[in-house]
Symmetry: C2
Subunit: 652 residues, 2 copies
């Protein structure tokens, strides 16, 4: 048996042993896809298993995230920091070999995958980052960034809209260094793919300006290798459709029964016989593979060292570019916005945000992003350049088209790639299309910036499909995400400053309309998440407001003061930031012994955390309607008169 | 000028006048798409403007929801119940002519549209409903259901993943009575479509088994008419790509500047001159059109009457089918589940749900739905039949493939069509892909049923991408949706009973695992949303629990009782149902004067509504991890010992 075949069989038997020991897992994909993935790693991909953070490594996005037995076996055999013990701990609490790959747990995992379609879509983001950085920083004599992005995906991925949205974008931009290995096995969890899908994948991807290459037998790694080489030469993104057999070598091969679950002792014996496995015992790795690993690592290390030399040259010859590419995080920390104005006049929040965005871009250059076809409304245009395209890859505005989910997945990919801080914008209500990708950013501990405008029903005539109600609650409930709703133009500056150096996703909720400049704001107060913005001695109650409702609360305070009701007004730009403060600070802002009332023109869901009582939450819990925005806002109780009446009622 | 041209120009000038008077609105699409929509209404579509609930009317889904000036003008001129006054009230509070079409406000609007892609996707649901009901109920001598589903959509719709997902499904099922009029004008809000998209739409749709017809000049309504007739003959769904000019007749025609906003007086004068409009004044309708309307309505009414005759015949000849098709809502009300078992032994909640689903199907037959490729895990298989397909259109299981969003939009379309109650299933965490469509169901006041299984991190080894945390909070915050989390197998029966006759969407949160049968449950208590399930005299505190945590709370109560801590345990299957009860009932269940503690293995976001204090919320606020499910559940504090300790601490 050839070395290649022994290696492939080792991947298969290790995978089977892992699932067996774990008592669960998805074995069908690993058994079928082992040859193609092996071929990629052995002969094509550029990486160094011992230096998994190498900036110019090829990226490997395992969109078939359920097929981790193969991924971890592969990484183990190619010398990554995954031991035999780790393989045996597959799917156990605290292991570095979880059920789906987690970028923050396991070295060499470029992206967390599992929610189908998103691996593919993030890979488009990786490829955009590479292309864009290459266009910006490579020199004729020195290509500092020059790598491929490889994806392994399955039938399920290609059914998901998010993959299809981003495939169109990839085709438009001509991401020719994006190479997808499509594990085409005609089977999904519920049975045969044909039950739900009769698409002609070749024609469909060609229609999106992709290069489609067909490999009729995935067991033939020579053909797989040729296909990869052919893909590398293409001027389009490539999808290599490799016909594999799910559950190869098992009794259920080729059917959905082979998708998941351990084989049992008899099943493993059957598999080993079918693939011609000659060794005893489980978790066995033949000696020749160990020997191969040493060689592989040496070569890989040489490649990495060569790039490090290049990096030194780059630093010497192009020190400015070097700083921008490799030290932008330090530059962000140093950026103090002293070159930027402090607002003194009212300004639409979204417009202030566009000003800040452009200031940051001009200073640092590390921003890239855009809107899902609402850039003029969202105010996210980088003024210095046009749209990133096949023809102009150094441009930093991305025309995502009307593809919110794809946009969010792409920004995740860009963020994971590194070298850039991506942003994504739409109306707050359409953030819903992106929810899963935003959660996915939070889970991966990356820091894209979301800019959601048109933040209350005051947007008016477009009606309830366009008026956010529950979205603030929705995002505040997501772990590891910071939601920020600035109350005045200067808080927009602070919110950007905070978001840029955040270590998690930041959602900026930017009002469409003009808001007055508030006194008493500064960055130090702002980053505490909530602070007193107007106070009275012996106040009767605390009013917490956010965004556009802060100035409303301040006006109500004046009226109530005349009636003898004294208030403390708290501006709360961010729940999450406030909750990271210590109890002493929190209590100094909100005294729970007195009544607490909240004002926010959104769902009241969750506000009892601060008010203690549902009655004290001034909010909008129903869908909006079409009509003049200011009228609607006021009709739902967001005017001084009604607010005064509500507060009076609550306190009586 | 021909009558046709005068009519088309009337649509255009009315649209311009509406946007002018409203001060905002999207005029570009109406000006370009008027001819094709006119041709459809004049010569092809089957409907009766005076009987908009006609069950066998052709459906008209206006996916380009922003283009309402054209829609309302069209409806006005064709004799729908939209007056000239209504046109003048366009986009005003309280009008029946809101910015985007709202199915619950305006007669003749078959679906609320605006969030792009979802109109197209819902139309696939309409066409599935028609095809399926036809296959089930039509007789050789009597076709009781036999209509087309027409869609108007634009470039933006076809960029959205949800449209692409459902296009694949439509092609697979061969929905040949689905006809899409694609307003292909090469322009979107941000500029030219080519900035974000270079797809070959013909090739792309043909790859998905669609029939693509090209009309090179949308002004040529003869060609549009021929294309519609050709589409009607196809054995595939058809997309008619009509080249239109956005903002036709304006100075900005053919550019994104023509997309929105009023033209101003000069702009309107320019438009009127360009299209050869000879009349004075605004909101003018030439006399010949009024005369035409009368004729049109007479003919339409005749068609409707003919169908009513058919319906009477159907009732006489096929009384049983008649009942099933037209009176299923009454049958649901009568269904008392007396023929169904009452559970006495522990049972996995998801399995109990599949039993109930099949009982209902067998009794009523009006259910249709499926899972996004997780039917075996979600337990939603209708045992009596296979998958709905081109070959077997009467089957009631839908193989949605891995297309969660598309699935939800399709169920919305089916629900809007009527004649069926649709259901859609996936893991709770992947409900995120569907969020916008679920909101859209709530807004449209329809009642699809969602079945979300694997409802806590106890699902284990698949890890955090598969473990829901914040999803319960997310859906509880959506207006007009009922979220139900059954605590035992019998509550599964109640939840289905409730969901079937609900007038809004119902989300069933079904645990994967076995739960014991609780004493003291019955339907009357259940529908109050929360009730005392175990009580102690002079109890010290109230514990509220849901789903799998109810039995955990009961066990903790026993232990604490021995320590002298007496508890009341409240089972709360649904917040929404509980909140619809009066204050007296609510207070009789939860006495706020004593401490209240909640236990739910999900995000605690929102629970302070009942507990008053964050400290009293026992929950999981962080992402999960891969590992044995029971171990993980217990490690995060969901075991008797930790619960006992937490309660003791809170009460001390």
């Amino acid at each position: 048996m050839s070395f290649d075949q022994i290696f492939i069989n080792t991947l298969r038997t290790l995978s089977a042993d892992m699932v067996e020991r774990a008592g669960s897992g998805h074995l069908g994909m690993p058994l079928g896809a082992s040859p193609m993935v092996y071929e990629l790693f052995k002969n094509h991909i550029k990486l160094d298993p011992q230096n998994t953070e190498w900036f110019d490594r090829d990226r490997f996005i395992y969109s078939s995230g359920h097929g981790t037995p193969l991924l971890y076996s592969l990484y183990h055999l190619f010398g990554y920091d995954i031991s035999m013990e780790d393989l045996k701990n597959y799917r156990q609490l605290g292991s570095i070999t979880p059920g789906h790959p987690e970028n923050y747990l396991t070295k060499g995992v470029d992206a967390t995958t599992g929610p189908l379609g998103q691996g593919f879509a993030m890979a488009v983001g990786f490829a955009i980052a590479e292309t864009h950085l290459g266009a910006k920083y490579n020199k004729d004599d020195l290509k500092i960034i020059d790598h491929y992005t490889y994806v392994v995906c399955g039938d399920g991925d290609l059914m998901e809209g998010v993959a299809l949205e981003t495939a169109s974008i990839a085709g438009r931009i001509g991401l020719n260094k994006l190479i997808v290995l499509y594990d085409s096995n005609d089977v999904c969890l519920d049975g045969n793919v044909i039950n739900s899908t009769s698409d002609n994948i070749k024609k469909k991807f060609e229609a999106m300006n992709w290069n489609h290459i067909f490999v009729k037998d995935g067991e033939n790694i020579v053909d797989v290798g040729k296909a990869i080489e052919e893909a590398k030469k293409s001027d389009k993104p490539s999808i290599i459709e490799v016909k594999n057999i799910i559950g190869f070598g098992t009794i259920d091969a080729g059917t959905n029964n082979a998708h998941s679950d351990p084989l049992g002792n008899d099943g493993i014996a059957y598999l080993k016989k079918q693939v011609g496995w000659e060794y005893e015992g489980d978790f066995y790795v033949p000696e020749e593979i160990e020997a191969f690993k040493e060689e592989y690592l040496k070569e890989a290390s040489n490649k990495y060292e060569a790039w490090l030399d290049k990096k030194i040259q780059f630093k010497e010859k192009y020190p400015e570019d070097y700083e921008k590419l490799f030290n932008y995080k330090e530059a962000i920390k140093k950026l103090d916005f002293s070159g930027f104005i402090k607002y003194t006049e009212p300004k639409p929040i979204r417009v202030a945000s566009e000003d800040v965005l452009n200031y940051v871009y001009d200073e640092l250059g590390c921003l890239i992003g855009g809107s899902a076809d609402l850039s003029k409304s969202n105010k996210v245009n980088i003024r210095k350049c046009g749209y990133l395209s096949k023809e102009n890859q150094a441009n930093s505005n991305i025309a995502f088209g009307v593809r919110e989910f794809g946009m969010a997945a792409i920004t995740n990919g860009i963020s994971l790639h590194g070298g850039l801080i991506p942003f994504a914008a739409t109306f707050l209500v359409f953030s819903e299309y992106m929810k899963s990708a935003i959660r996915h950013a939070a889970l991966q501990k990356i820091n894209p910036i979301y800019i959601f405008t048109h933040d209350t029903l005051s947007i008016g005539p477009d009606g309830p499909t366009h008026q956010p109600i529950e979205q603030l609650a929705e995002f505040r409930s997501v772990p590891n995400v910071d939601v920020i709703r600035p109350a005045d133009p200067n808080e927009v500056i602070y919110s950007w400053k905070y978001a840029l150096s955040n270590n998690k996703p930041t959602i900026l909720i930017n009002a469409r309309q003009e808001l007055p400049v508030l006194n008493e704001t500064n960055y130090e107060k702002f980053v505490k998440g909530a602070y007193v913005i107007d106070d009275s001695d012996d106040y009767h109650a605390t009013i917490i407001a956010t965004g556009s409702e802060v100035s409303l609360a301040l006006k109500a305070k004046e009226v109530l003061e005349e009636k003898g009701i004294r208030l403390r007004i708290v501006n709360m730009p961010s729940w999450e930031l406030f909750e990271r403060e210590d109890r002493t600070y929190q209590d100094s802002v909100i005294d729970r012994k007195k009544p607490v009332i909240s004002i926010e023109a959104s769902s009241g869901f969750g506000w009892e955390r601060y008010t203690g009582k549902t009655e004290n939450v001034i909010c909008v819990n129903d869908f909006g309607e079409s009509g003049n925005g200011q009228d609607l806002y006021e009709a739902r109780g967001f005017n001084v008169k009604d607010i005064v009446a509500r507060i009076t009622e609550i306190l009586s």
